[in-house]
C-alpha cells in the first residue's frame, strides 16, 4: 500500500467515525453503457488489493462507477451525495466500452491476488483510458503528452469499435506449448478501417500497471464489430458483416492466431454462411445426440461416468448479421455455433442438415457474455453423481425445470430481455414444455370456407341467383377412416376434429395460420400495381411494377415484384387477373345498367415465365391472350373474350401504371401467414393410397448435402448485380426442371429446423408408454422414440373434398337416420376461393431474465453484460455464477440463469 493510499484510508476511516447513516446514495446512473468485472483496490475493501468489482461506464455522466460484486453495494465516495465515480479524461465524454483482465501475477493458484488491468473507451474515440485499479483513490490515469494510449497516433482518424483485454502468452516449457505470462496483459482494440491495435501492459514495481510497449497495428481487412478470445488465450475471434478474407466469399468470423508476433498474426476465415455482429467463445461439452435414455451428454460406459471429459470442445458463438440472414436466405437468423476445428459451422449432429441450424433468438441481441461451470457447487445442488457441478457441470433454471449443462451464455436483447442460452444443448431453454400440456406444440383450431355460387336464374333470364356451395374441403382423419361407412365422414372440417389430422413436428413447426385455397392469390401478389406490354415475338407480357416518369422523359420502375424469382412461386398455367385503368379505353366495356363505358377485370392463363429485361427487371409472365376473358359476367360460362382492340392496347406499354394485378394459382395453393408459400397440395380421394402433403426438410433436401445439394442459378437473385448482363444460367432457368429445383430450394429453406429439443417422453413423467391413452406418448406417437432429435414436417396432412348429394331440385339429400346431409368424395371441380385454415403453435416460450416485477424497473433496453463466478467467496457458494447486465434505463441487474427469475436484483 502506498503512502498516499494509507492517508486516504485514514481519512476514510476518520470520516466514517464521525457518524454513519443508514441511507446510502443511489448509483446515479445515467444511460449506463459497458460493464466489466475486475479485481482491484478501493476504499470499500481497503485491505484487499484484488477484491472483485463491477465497473460500469456511466455514460451520461462521463464517469465510471464501481460496485462490489459480492454484495452489490457501490463503492462509496468520501462525500455521501454520490458513490465513488471516476471521471473520464477531458475530451472523452460518454464512455461506453470497458475491458478488464488479470495479469496472472498474484499469489493465488489462479493467478489472482493483485489488481487487474481495466480500460475504458468513449464512443468515436481512439484513446484507451487506463483506470488505476491499484490505487485506493480509484481514478482514470492522466496520461503523459503525447498520450501513449491514443491509438489515433498509430492509425490516424481511426475510432475504436470494440475492445477486449486478454492475457499475454509466452512459450511454454516444451516446444509448441504456450503459457500465460505473469505480470503482463494486453488490450486489443478493433479500429475503424479494418485494423486492430494491440497494446501491451505490464505490472510496475510500485504495483501499478502501465503500457510496456508502443501500440502495434494488425491489419484485418475487415471491420471487426465484436471481439472474443479463446479460453486458451491463443486465438482471437472477430465478428464482421464483411467478407472475412476479401475475395474468399467466406462470411462469418475471423480467427487470428495470437501466438505469433503482433502485426503478423495469421488470419483464418470461419464460415458462418453469412456475416456476424457478435462473437464469443467457450469450451463446452455438448449433449450427445442419439442416446435413448433421455437428456444426457454422452453414452455412459460401464465404469466411465462420461464419454469424454467436460468442457473440451472449443466453440465459437456468433450472432448472424440480421441484414443478411433470414428464413428464405442462405442461412436462418440466430446464434450460430462454429467449430473452429472444422473451419466453419458445427455439423448437424442429427445428420439431417449440412450444418447445425443457428439458435433462433426472438430479438436482436446487443451483447453476449458466457459463463462456464462454477468453481464450487451450489449448496442446494440436486444429487446427480454423473452430472455434478464438481464434475464440471452447472445449473440452469428455466421455467420448464432445472437442468445441468456445461456452458451458459446470455444475450442482452433489444426487446428488453436477457435470454439465456444452454450452450450444451444448442438452444435457449423454454419456460414451458414443448411436448406436454396446453403449452406444447400443437394445432389449435381450424375452419373451412366455401364461397356461394352465382348461377343464372332459370325463371328470370338475365337475372342471377346466389346458392350455397355443395362442396367443402377437409382433412382426412386416418384414425376415423377405417371406422366409417361413408368416406366423407372421416373428412375433418372444423376446429374440433381438424387438429388431430395435421401432423407437426416440435422444433420445426412455428406459430402460424395456414391456409389451403383453391385458385387462391399467390402470397404477395394480390391487388398489385402492374404493367403490360408486348414481347419481341409479339406475346402479351404482364409484370408487377410501377413506372415513375423522369423529367427527361424516361421511366423508372419501382415496386418491382420478382416474378422470375422462385420464391414467388409463379407457375406456368397459373391465372393472371388484370384490371386496366380507365385510361386504357379500348378495354372499357359497356355497363348493362348504365349503358356507359366502365372499367372491368380480365383473366387468363400464364403461358411462360419471362426472365428479367430492361422492360421488366423483376421478370414477367407471358399471357394467353386467346383466353383473355372479361370477368364482368358473374357466370363463367357466359363470359366474353377480350376484344382485339383491348389486347392491342395492353401490348402498348403505358407510361404510367395502368392496372391492378392479381396472380392466382392454377389449383390448390398452401401457405402460412408468416411462412408464405409452402406448396401446392393435391386432393386425395383415398388418403391411404397417397402420400400426404408435407413440408419436410429431409424430403426436399436429402442428407448429407441437404439444401446445399440443390442448385438454383436464380438464388441468390443476381439481377441487381448483373442487370441485363445476368449469367446465362440465370436467364435460362425457365424450364420446368430448373424452376422446380429452385422451388424445392426455397421450400427446403422454409422447412429448416428452428429449435433443438432436449426433452422427450419419459415413463417416469408421462406414465408407461405401453398403456398410455393420452399425453406425450400419444400426442407424439409417430416420433416419440426419436425424440428429442426427431425430425419431421413443418406441417403434413391429407387433403380431401366432400360433395353434397342433391335431389332433382338441387336440394341437399338428408340421411334420415343421422339427419345429416349425404356427401360423396368430390367429383365436381372445386370452386375458386374455397379454403381450409388451421392454426399451429410452436410451443416455444423462451426463458429469459430481466428486472423483477417488484423492482419497479422497466425492461426496455439492456446494453452490456459481464459474467462473474461468486461461488468461491465465503458465504456466496449458493449464489453460483452471475451476470451483471446494464440497462439504458439507469440501472443494472445482478442475475443468474442458474437460479430463479425472482432472484434477479436491480441495482441503481
Amino acid at each position: 500500500m502506498t503512502a498516499r493510499n494509507a492517508l486516504l484510508l485514514l481519512a476514510l476511516a476518520a470520516s466514517a467515525g464521525c457518524g454513519s447513516s443508514a441511507a446510502k446514495p443511489d448509483l446515479g446512473l445515467v444511460s449506463p453503457g459497458g460493464v466489466a468485472v475486475f479485481r482491484g483496490l478501493t476504499t470499500k475493501n481497503a485491505l484487499d488489493p484484488a477484491h472483485p468489482y463491477v465497473a460500469v461506464a456511466n455514460s451520461g455522466r462521463d464517469e465510471i462507477i464501481f460496485i462490489d460484486t459480492l454484495d452489490d453495494e457501490p463503492v462509496l465516495a468520501p462525500v455521501v451525495v454520490r458513490p465513488l465515480a471516476a471521471p473520464t479524461l477531458p475530451g472523452e465524454p460518454h464512455p461506453t466500452m470497458l475491458a478488464s483482465v488479470g495479469l496472472h501475477d498474484g499469489q493465488n493458484a489462479d493467478g489472482t491476488g493483485l489488481p487487474d488491468l481495466l480500460v475504458v473507451v468513449s464512443p468515436g474515440s481512439s484513446r484507451l483510458q487506463l483506470v488505476a485499479t491499484w490505487d485506493l483513490a480509484t481514478h482514470v490515469v492522466q496520461p503523459p503528452e503525447p498520450d501513449p494510449l491514443d491509438l489515433g497516433a498509430l492509425a490516424p482518424g481511426a475510432q475504436v469499435l470494440a475492445v477486449i483485454a486478454v492475457p499475454v502468452l509466452e512459450p511454454g516449457a516444451t516446444a509448441g506449448t504456450w503459457q500465460v505470462a505473469r505480470g503482463k496483459a494486453r488490450v486489443v482494440a478493433s479500429l475503424a478501417g479494418g485494423r486492430l491495435a494491440v497494446v501491451d501492459f505490464a505490472r510496475q514495481a510500485d504495483g501499478s500497471i502501465a503500457p510496456s510497449a508502443v501500440p502495434v497495428l494488425q491489419d484485418l481487412g475487415f471491420e471487426a464489430l465484436s471481439l472474443a478470445e479463446s479460453p486458451d488465450h491463443d486465438r482471437l475471434y472477430a465478428a464482421t458483416v464483411e467478407e472475412v478474407i476479401p475475395g474468399s466469399g467466406v462470411y462469418g468470423v475471423g480467427e487470428l492466431d495470437t501466438t505469433g508476433a503482433v502485426g503478423a498474426w495469421t488470419l483464418r476465415a470461419l464460415d458462418a454462411r453469412v456475416g456476424t455482429t457478435l462473437v464469443a467463445a467457450a469450451k463446452v461439452t455438448e449433449r450427445f445426440v442419439g442416446v435413448q435414455d433421455g437428456d444426457t451428454f454422452c453414452v455412459r460406459q460401464p465404469g466411465e461416468p462420461f464419454c469424454k471429459a467436460p468442457n473440451e470442445d472449443l466453440r465459437v458463438y456468433a450472432f448472424l448479421d440480421p441484414a443478411a440472414c433470414g428464413r428464405s436466405a442462405r442461412m436462418p437468423c440466430g446464434l450460430a455455433v462454429i467449430d473452429p476445428a472444422g473451419g466453419g459451422l458445427l455439423a448437424d449432429p442429427t445428420g439431417e442438415m449440412p450444418y447445425l441450424p443457428p439458435m433462433a433468438v426472438p430479438s436482436i441481441p446487443v451483447a453476449i457474455a458466457i459463463a462456464g461451470p462454477t468453481a464450487l457447487p451450489p449448496t442446494n445442488e440436486p444429487s446427480d453423481a454423473q452430472l455434478s457441478v464438481a464434475g464440471g457441470y452447472m445449473l440452469l433454471a428455466p421455467g420448464s425445470g432445472q437442468v445441468k449443462t456445461t456452458g451458459v451464455a446470455v444475450l442482452a436483447s433489444g426487446d428488453g430481455r436477457v435470454y439465456m442460452v444452454d450452450l450444451a444443448r444448442w438452444h435457449i431453454p423454454l419456460n414451458a414444455s414443448i411436448l406436454r400440456t396446453s403449452t406444447r406444440a400443437s394445432v389449435t383450431g381450424g375452419t373451412v370456407f366455401s364461397p356461394s355460387l352465382v348461377v343464372p336464374d332459370p325463371e328470370n333470364p338475365g337475372q342471377y341467383l346466389v346458392k350455397p356451395s355443395r362442396l367443402r374441403l377437409g382433412l382426412w382423419d386416418l384414425v376415423q377412416w377405417p371406422k366409417v361407412t361413408r368416406p366423407t365422414a372421416a373428412l375433418a372440417s372444423n376446429a374440433t376434429n381438424m387438429p388431430s389430422t395435421v401432423r407437426i413436428t416440435p422444433g420445426y413447426t412455428a406459430t402460424d395460420t395456414w391456409t389451403v385455397m383453391y385458385q387462391g392469390p399467390l402470397p404477395g401478389l394480390s391487388a398489385r400495381a402492374g404493367q403490360t406490354g408486348a414481347t419481341a415475338d409479339g406475346r402479351l407480357w404482364l409484370a408487377v411494377q410501377t413506372p415513375l416518369p423522369r423529367s427527361d422523359g424516361s421511366t423508372q420502375l419501382v415496386d418491382v415484384a420478382r416474378l422470375f424469382d422462385p420464391s414467388l412461386a409463379v407457375h406456368v398455367g397459373d391465372i393472371a387477373q388484370l384490371a386496366p385503368a380507365s385510361t386504357v379505353t379500348a378495354c372499357l366495356t359497356t355497363d348493362p345498367d348504365t349503358e356507359g363505358l366502365s372499367t372491368t377485370s380480365y383473366e387468363t392463363r400464364i403461358t411462360a415465365i419471362l426472365p428479367p429485361s430492361a422492360a421488366y427487371p423483376g421478370g414477367a409472365v407471358a399471357l394467353d391472350e386467346a383466353q383473355l376473358i372479361d370477368l364482368r359476367n358473374p357466370v363463367a360460362s357466359e363470359r366474353l373474350p377480350a376484344t382485339p382492340e383491348c389486347i392491342a392496347a395492353l401490348k402498348q406499354v403505358a407510361p404510367a401504371g395502368n392496372m391492378l394485378v392479381t396472380l392466382r394459382a392454377a389449383g390448390l395453393v398452401a401457405g402460412g401467414a408468416s411462412m408464405g408459400y409452402v406448396g401446392r397440395p393435391q386432393l386425395e380421394a383415398d388418403p391411404t393410397a397417397a402420400e400426404p402433403f408435407a413440408l419436410t426438410y429431409s424430403a426436399l433436401a436429402p442428407p448429407p448435402l441437404g439444401e446445399d445439394g440443390i442448385s438454383c442459378p436464380i438464388l441468390p437473385w443476381p439481377a441487381e448485380a448483373y442487370g441485363p448482363n445476368a449469367p446465362a444460367a440465370f436467364t435460362a432457368c425457365v424450364d420446368e426442371a430448373c424452376r422446380s429445383g429452385c422451388e424445392r430450394l426455397v421450400l427446403a429453406r422454409k422447412a429448416r429446423r428452428l429449435y433443438y429439443l432436449s426433452d422427450r417422453c419419459l415413463d417416469t413423467v408421462d406414465g408407461p408408454k405401453a398403456t398410455a391413452t393420452k399425453g406425450c406418448w400419444v400426442d407424439w406417437a409417430a416420433i416419440a422414440d426419436a425424440l428429442p432429435d426427431a425430425s419431421g414436417p413443418i406441417v403434413s396432412f391429407h387433403l380431401g373434398c366432400a360433395q353434397t348429394q342433391v335431389d332433382g331440385k338441387g336440394d341437399p339429400i338428408i340421411d334420415p337416420r343421422t339427419k345429416t346431409v349425404v356427401e360423396d368424395v368430390c367429383t365436381a371441380e372445386l370452386e375458386r376461393d374455397m379454403s381450409l385454415t388451421f392454426i399451429t403453435q410452436s410451443g416455444i416460450t423462451y426463458a429469459y431474465r430481466g428486472p423483477t416485477s417488484g423492482s419497479n424497473a422497466a425492461a426496455s433496453f439492456p446494453v452490456a453484460a459481464a459474467p462473474f463466478d461468486r461461488s468461491p467467496y465465503p458465504g456466496k457458494q449458493a449464489d453460483g455464477y452471475r451476470f451483471f447486465v446494464t440497462y439504458s434505463e439507469n440501472f443494472l441487474i445482478d442475475l443468474s440463469p442458474g437460479t430463479a427469475y425472482s432472484t434477479s436484483k436491480v441495482i441503481r
Binding site: V30, S31, G33, S59, G60, D62, P90, G91, P93, H94, T96, P123, G124, S125, S126, G157, Q159, L161, A192, E223, P322, A323, S363, I364, G414, D415, G416, G524, R528, A529, V544, T546, L548, P549, R550, S551, D552, Q556, V558, D559, V560, A561, R562, D565, S567, L568, G618, A656, G657, W717, E720, A721, S853, A858, A859, S860, F861, S888, E889, N890
Partner: protein
Amino acid sequence: MERLTLSRTPDYGSHPVHHVARRSAPLLLICLAAACGSSGTAPLSPLDRFHYPVGVAVRGSAGQEQLLVVSSNYDLAYDRDEGGVLFSVGPEASPQDGLAIEGAMRMGSFGGELAVAEAAAPAGLDTSPDACDLPQSVALVASRATRQVYKVALGADGSLTCGPDCPQLLPEDFLDPFGVTVACRNARRPRAFVTARRTNRAVSRLVEIDLSTGAQRTADFGYGTTHSVAYDAALDRIYFTSSADYGSAALRYVDVTPWCDPPLYLAECHADVVNVGEFVRGADLGGIALSNANVDADGKPMPRRLYIGARLFDADLAASLGWRPGFDTGGVLIVLEVDEAQFGVPAFRFIGAIPVGFGPAEVRVLPRRPGKRDVVAITVSDEGLLWIYDDDVGAMARVFGRDEITGAPLLGRVPYGIAVQDRGTSARLYVTAFDSSFVTPVDVPLDNPGEAAIVEVADPADPTRQVPRRLGQERQ
C-alpha cells in the same frame, strides 16, 4: 389563468400528455398545446431575436447561405395567433451572439418542423437536384396554435412573403400539425406532407398539400398519431413515424406514385405498417431520416436505411395502464434497413439500436459519402446532446454535451432542430437550442465524423480566447 394544454376530456381518443417525457415536459408541450384562447392584448413577438426556436433549415452554398428558423413562442409570451416568427438569417453576416436578419414573418405560435421546396432555378441560390416545379422556392411550416400551414415564398434577398394562399387552414379535426416534408420528384406535382400530433379520433393522419394548387388530401392510417415524415424521391414513397397510447411504435409508408395521384384518395395509395416495437420494446418513435441513395465500392446499390429517434418507455407498465406512461426510461437511435425483397414491397430489417439518452428528437442524414454509408446527426433534447453516428462502422463517432470545465451545455439548453448544409468534404449543421433561443453551427468532416467540432470564433470580449459560435442572443 390561461392553460397551455387541454385537460383530458371524453372527446379525446388519446391521452394528451402521453408523449411528455419526465424531463422534457417544457419542450414537448409544444407538441401538446392547442386551442388556447387568442389573446388580443398580448404583445407582438419580437423580430430581432429567436424565442424558443424549433424548426430550422438552411439553403444555398457556403458563404451565401440563408438560414431559416422558426420561433415557436412556446411560453405564449406573445400573441397566440401571431406570436411565432419565421426568420431568414444570414449566418455569415451575423455577429457573435447576434443575428443578421434578412427577413422575418409573423405566424401562429407553436411552429413545428420546417421544410423547403426549392424551385427549379432560384436566383442567387444553388438548386436542388430534386427541384420542385414551382415559380418560386417556398418554406413550409405548420402552426399548432392556429392549425395552419404557412407556405412562405423565399426571396433571393432573404425576404419572406406569405402570399395569397398563405396561410392555409388544415382540416378541422387535424389538430397539432407538426411534421412537414416536401416531395418533389423530377419536377412532378410538388407536394408537402404534414403530420398531426393529435386528432379528434386519435388516428394516424396525414395531409397532402399540392403546392401548385393548394389542394389538400387527407388520409387516416390506423390508430395513433403521426410525428415526422421522410420522403424517398427514388421510389416516390413517404415514411412516417407514429405512435399510440397503448405503446405500438408504428412505422408506416405510403407509395405516393402517380398511380395514386388524384382523383384517388390518399388512403387508396399503397401503404403498410411495421411495428418497430417488435425490434425495440417500448419504443416511441419520433424524428426520422432516410439514408442517401448510394452504391457500394463494387457499384452495387446499397439498401436504403431509416434512422429513427425513439424514446423508450416502460412497456410492461404501458400494458397495465392501457396507455403509454408519461415518463421515459431512455432513448435510442434505431437503424432499419429497407429491403424491397422479392415482392417489390418494403421489408424492414432491424440493424441496430444505439442508446443516446433521454429525449431523442430530430434526426438528419448528412450528405452522401461515395461508397460509404451515411453519417447521421441526432439531437437528444433532455440531456442536451448532439450525437454523430457513423453508419459505415455502425457506431457513434462523436457526442457533444456539456463543457468539461463549466458544465454548461455546449449547444445550449434543449437542443432540438438540425439543418444540414453540404460543404463538399464536410457538412455544417445548424442546431437550434430551444430553451436557450440560439443556433449553434457544427462542422462535421464527412470522412472522419469523429473530428466533428463546434464552430468557434474569437470571443468579442477577449479576442485571445475561442468561444463557440452562436447565432442569436441566449435567452436567460
